[in-house]
Symmetry: C2
Subunit: 245 residues, 2 copies
DNA sequence: ACAAAAGTGTTCTGCCTACACCCATGT
DNA sequence: ACATGGGTGTAGGCAGAACACTTTTGT
C-alpha cells in the first residue's frame, strides 16, 4: 500500500460492504448444475442468485464463504470445512448492487452429487436448489457474469488439475470420472485413451483393491478408484478442440 | 447474494476499507524487477511496499489500481490506460493491516524496461524504485505473500499466453523475447526450438519487414518483430521441468 | 582469424489419436 | 444369444528435445 493509506479516516466515506459469493457446481444426471438461492426480498425478489453473504468484521472472505454455504444449504459443517474452495475473482463495479456499495469476492466449489441434496435442509436452505447451468438464465445482480466466469474457469481447470475427482463420490469408476469431463466440456472423449491418461498420471487416482461396482446394471463391473494426492496434471488433459487449429 | 443481505445496515459494523495493490514487473538487465514504494509513515515506516491505495466510492478496483499507479509512478496517463492489468487475488485476512480492516484486491501488470524509469517522476513517485524480486526480502503488511503469488502467476502465464511481449519494447528481437522467458523462469531455453515455437504460433509475433538491430554490438543483426493479436498460446510453451517426471 | 549472436536443418523420442479387439454381466 | 459397458493392444502422426551446422557482424 502506498503513502496514500496514511491518515485515512475509515468513516470519511460511505462505507463499503464486502461480500463472499459462491458458485457451487455438481454433476448430476449428465449435466452440470449450480447451486442457486431464490431471493425473498427486494431487490430482485423472486429471482435466482448465487449463495453468499457479508464478510463479518473478524472473518476472511473464505471463512465467510464457508459459513454462508453451511447456513444456506444445511450441509454438515465437516463437509463444508473440507470443501475445496477456490477464489475466482473480485467484482467491484460501483453499481453492481442498487442499494449500496458492495464489493464481492467470488469463490468456486465442486461437490459430488450429494445423496441428500442440499436443498432439503431446514431454515435458509429452504430456498436452495440445484439448477442446470444451461437453465440458469437471468440471475440477480451481476451473478450471471460471475457464473459464466466460474463455468469457464472450471472447464479450464479440468485440463491441468486433478479437480475432476471433487465431482465424484469417495469411490468412483473411471467411467464416472470420464462422464464428469464429458459433462463439463460437452464433448465425448475416447474411453481407452482417457483411461490410459488418467492411470499414467501418478497420484491422480488410486485403485481400491478388489472393489467393483455394477454401473447401470448392465455390463462388466467396473473397478473402483479414489482420488489420489496429486493436484496438478502434467502433461495436461486437453479438450479435443484445445490443440486443434 | 443471499437473503442474508437484506436488512443489512451499512453503518452497523466497523466499516471495511477496500484497497487496490499492484505487483508491476519488468525485465531489466537480466533479472525480474518489481516496482516498490518506500513507506514514509507508520506502520512499517521505511519499509518497502507494493504501490496501491484505496478504492474511492465511485471507482472499481481496477480503475483505482490504474489511478494509483499513475499517481505513484508518474507514468503517462496513456501508458497506464493501455496497460494490461490482471486481477491476481483478493487478500482479506482480518489482521493484515494493523490499523483497520482493509480488504485488498491485488493486480499484476507487466511493463517493458522503461526508457525513463518510473521513479524519476515527481511527487509521490519520488519513493518508487525498481527492485530485483530476489532482493525484495521483507515487505510491509502481507505484501511479500502477494508478491510471491504474483511471481508464480506470471511464470505460469508465460506458458499458455502471449503475455511475454508485454515485457518487450514495441519492436523487439526473438533473442530479447527469449531472454524474457529465461529471466522469468530462471531456465535456459534452446534457441532454435524457441524460435520455431514462437513463429509457428499464429498471431504471437509479427515480423517488421526490413528492420534489424545489432544486439550487444557483436553478432549478426537480428530481425525485429512486434506483438501480434493473439493472446492465448496453443499448444503451450512449457517450462523445461513442466512435463518431465 | 576469431568470437559472438542470429538463423536453418535433421534426427529421435514420446505422447496422443484412432480404432480394432477381448471380457464380464444382465436380459 | 446379444446388448451394454469395462478394459487391452497397436499402428500412425505430429510436436518437442537435442544438437550439428551456416551466416553475419565486431574486434
Amino acid at each position: 500500500m502506498s503513502d496514500g493509506y496514511d491518515g485515512y479516516d475509515p468513516h470519511a466515506y460511505e462505507p463499503f460492504a464486502v461480500a463472499a459469493d459462491l458458485a457451487v457446481f455438481t454433476v448430476r444426471s449428465g449435466s452440470l448444475h449450480v447451486l442457486l438461492i431464490r431471493r425473498g426480498q427486494e431487490p430482485y425478489a423472486g429471482a435466482w442468485a448465487l449463495p453468499g453473504g457479508f464478510v463479518l468484521p473478524r472473518e476472511s472472505a473464505e471463512t465467510a464463504a464457508r459459513r454462508e454455504l453451511a447456513e444456506e444449504t444445511g450441509l454438515a459443517d465437516e463437509v463444508v470445512a473440507a470443501l475445496h474452495l477456490e477464489q475466482l475473482r473480485t467484482y467491484s463495479e460501483p453499481d453492481r448492487d442498487p442499494r449500496m456499495r458492495i464489493v464481492s469476492v467470488a469463490f468456486t466449489a465442486l461437490v459430488p452429487d450429494l445423496p441428500e441434496p442440499a436443498p432439503d435442509g431446514g431454515g435458509d436452505a429452504a430456498h436452495a436448489r440445484w439448477v442446470p447451468v444451461a437453465d440458469a438464465g437471468e440471475l440477480a445482480f451481476d451473478h450471471a457474469a460471475i457464473l459464466a466466469d466460474a463455468r469457464s474457469r472450471i472447464g479450464a481447470k479440468l485440463e491441468y488439475t486433478c479437480l475432476a475427482t471433487a465431482f465424484c463420490p469417495p469411490e468412483f469408476t473411471l467411467g464416472e470420472l470420464q462422464a464428469v469431463y464429458e459433462t463439463v466440456w460437452s464433448t465425448p472423449l475416447d474411453r481407452p485413451n482417457f483411461r490410459r491418461k488418467v492411470l499414467a498420471t501418478p497420484g491422480f487416482v488410486e485403485a481400491v483393491p478388489g472393489a467393483a461396482r455394477l454401473t447401470g446394471g448392465r455390463g462388466k463391473p467396473a473397478a473402483l478408484y479414489k482420488a489420489g494426492p496429486a493436484t496438478a496434471l502434467h502433461p495436461p488433459l486437453l479438450r479435443p478442440e484445445g490443440h486443434r487449429r
